[in-house]
């Protein structure tokens, strides 16, 4: 590596560590940024610096924002007595894109895994129980992945929530636009069990 390309190579190495990017796509991205220095690279640097300085988890739900309380938790109209529990921030953002849920969220930050030494305290579960007790919650919606760890975590939370609170989970079945022929047996079984009147 020559001295005059050292910095560029270092940038490519850093970009290649990002999810979804490999060395090849990182090189293309860096070359593109250099070509579009004014309209893209400089604003990107500013945006990165801003986010690096200000991004932080919401102290209430675990969402990522730039203040102690995220926009959803700060919005009183979303205090409708429903909390949707998700594994990661990306799941919260996916739910928000759908625009169907009008309550608040709780981001666990993962799932229970004895093998990986991830316990309830590592997942903000005590904080969830605290919120349920203090935020006048009527329903907790468990929107966790349909994996063993996801479902174990859902059972764990449901087991701790008793009394007048409704605990629900997302339905499993045929995706919108999906063809039965392409579904696995487990999904078809779940869909058949959750069938409804037409």
């Amino acid at each position: 590596m020559s001295d005059d390309t050292r910095d560029i190579e270092a940038l490519i190495d850093l970009m290649a560590r990002l999810p979804g990017l490999g060395p090849r796509s990182a090189r293309r991205a860096v070359l593109h940024l250099i070509k579009k220095r004014g309209p893209l690279m400089v604003p990107l640097v500013d945006a990165l610096r801003n986010v690096a300085e200000n991004a932080r988890p919401c102290l209430n739900c675990g969402n990522i924002g730039t203040s102690d309380l995220c926009a959803i938790c700060a919005d009183e109209t979303r205090a409708n007595g429903e909390i949707c529990v998700v594994e990661e921030v990306s799941d919260l953002w996916a739910m928000e894109r759908a625009g169907i849920f009008k309550g608040r969220y709780h981001v666990l930050g993962g799932t229970l895994s004895a093998l990986d030494a991830i316990g309830p305290e590592d997942l903000h579960i005590p904080k969830l129980l605290d919120r349920v007790a203090t935020e006048n919650v009527r329903e907790v919606i468990l929107a966790l992945n349909a994996t063993i760890d996801g479902q174990t975590t859902a059972h764990y939370i449901a087991d701790q929530l008793s009394g007048d609170i409704a605990v629900t989970s997302l339905a499993q079945g045929v995706p919108i636009g999906g063809e039965l022929d392409y579904l696995d047996d487990g999904t078809i079984t779940a869909a058949m069990r959750a069938r409804k009147s037409f």
Partner: protein, 385 residues
């Protein structure tokens, strides 16, 4: 170069062409069988079983030797990995299937040019096998019999693999909690709920498979022995938890005991397959070596028969060194049965004379060893090295 396989009685499920690349002793081997019954003969160590093992990788799992992918690669050529490809006929449809592994990576599967999960293969091609390592099945530890039963179960219902994996994962989680002396009852209940749901499904499928094979035994030839099969618990206990509720209770009640042991002592992973040799009314493990072998063959044939009835197509059958253990009358009966069932069967033996009773019904391929390299010869074959 499409092989013209005879139309089976009960539909079609067959390998029309097989390609092995850097797979154990095979550098490059191509086989296009011209008959539904394929006899591979040659001296010990020539590479016959390696061909059967390659075929077993056309189904989900770790193959008939339960090897890790890294160990299969032909080391003499410093090859980066191995590959098995096949052209399959399932019903009226042809499929191109490829599976391979490179150093340091798991096994990949491509079906008709697209990556698919291994478990998908269970829905496509059903493969049963009998290998010499299973000769001690009735006398060895229960683990081998559970594996035999689970392969049998999987052949009827490929979804069995998913539940088995989910159960295994949940059990490992519970065992970790037990070993770490965790006392959080909520956590145990959450994990045990997963184990109970998947465990009950596993037991239900195993029972169904035993029932199907038991029924199919009745239609088998009298020359092969029959057995009364049953699913039993640890210590031959027939009264073990089978339903989701019963498993949930048993896991909950056994927590203290399991914590002392550091592992889960109740559930489908502790079950066993019991076989009572019908002709003598004694456990299979107490019969002679020859009788035990004949019983295994009988059960595999019953499995083939039951599958042909249940799915409309007989599975592919791999029989490694089976003929040598049978007298001529039983050899002939085995070949006639495989022929009548319409199964594509790949058989191995040290000498061609072991397959005399097959006559013109089989494709005969000789496998020899040339300084560590397997050579497959005879008609229908193009072998390069």
């Amino acid at each position: 170069m499409t092989a013209n396989l005879p139309e089976p009685v009960s539909g079609t499920c067959a390998i029309e062409a097989l390609f092995l690349s850097h797979f154990r002793s095979h550098k490059v081997t191509r086989i296009e069988p011209k008959a539904r019954l394929v006899a591979l003969y040659g001296p010990n160590g020539a590479g016959k079983t390696n061909i059967l093992e390659a075929i077993s990788y056309l189904s989900p799992g770790r193959g008939l030797r339960r090897a890790v992918p890294e160990d299969i690669r032909r080391r003499e050529d410093a090859a980066p990995g191995w590959k098995v490809a096949a052209r399959l006929r399932v019903g009226d449809t042809q499929h191109e299937l490829e599976t391979w592994a490179e150093a340091g990576s798991g096994r990949h599967v491509h079906l008709d040019g697209k990556a698919v999960p291994q478990n998908r293969l269970g829905n496509l091609l059903r493969i049963l096998w009998l290998v010499p390592a299973m000769d001690r099945l009735w006398t060895e530890a229960a683990e081998g019999r559970r594996r035999f039963l689970d392969r049998m179960t999987l052949s009827f219902d490929p979804a069995h693999a998913d539940d088995a994996l989910r159960y295994e994962k949940a059990m490992r989680e519970r065992n970790r909690l037990l070993k770490d002396q965790v006392t959080d009852a909520h956590w145990y209940r959450a994990v045990e709920a997963q184990m109970a749901a998947t465990g009950a499904a596993i037991l239900l499928r195993r029972e169904a498979a035993i029932a199907a094979v038991t029924a199919a035994q009745r239609d088998g030839l009298d020359i092969f022995p029959k057995a009364a099969l049953a699913l039993i618990g640890p210590d031959a206990d027939e009264d073990f938890p089978r339903t989701e509720e019963a498993l949930l209770d048993a896991l909950s009640e056994g927590r203290n005991r399991d914590m002392s042991a550091g592992r889960t002592l109740v559930g489908p992973h502790r079950c066993d397959l019991s076989a009572i040799y019908a002709a003598k009314s004694i456990p299979a493990r107490e019969t002679s070596t020859g009788e035990q072998k004949a019983l295994l063959i009988s059960l595999v044939l019953a499995n083939v028969r039951a599958l042909a009835m249940a799915t409309g197509a007989a599975p592919v059958v791999l029989l490694d060194e089976v003929a040598a253990h049978l007298d001529q009358e039983r050899q002939a009966a085995l070949y006639d049965e495989l022929d009548a069932l319409g199964a594509q069967a790949w058989l191995t033996g040290t000498g061609r004379e072991l397959f005399d009773a097959l006559g013109a019904r089989a494709d005969y391929l000789q496998v020899t060893d040339d300084a560590g390299l397997s050579i497959v010869s005879e008609a229908g074959l193009n072998n390069q090295h």
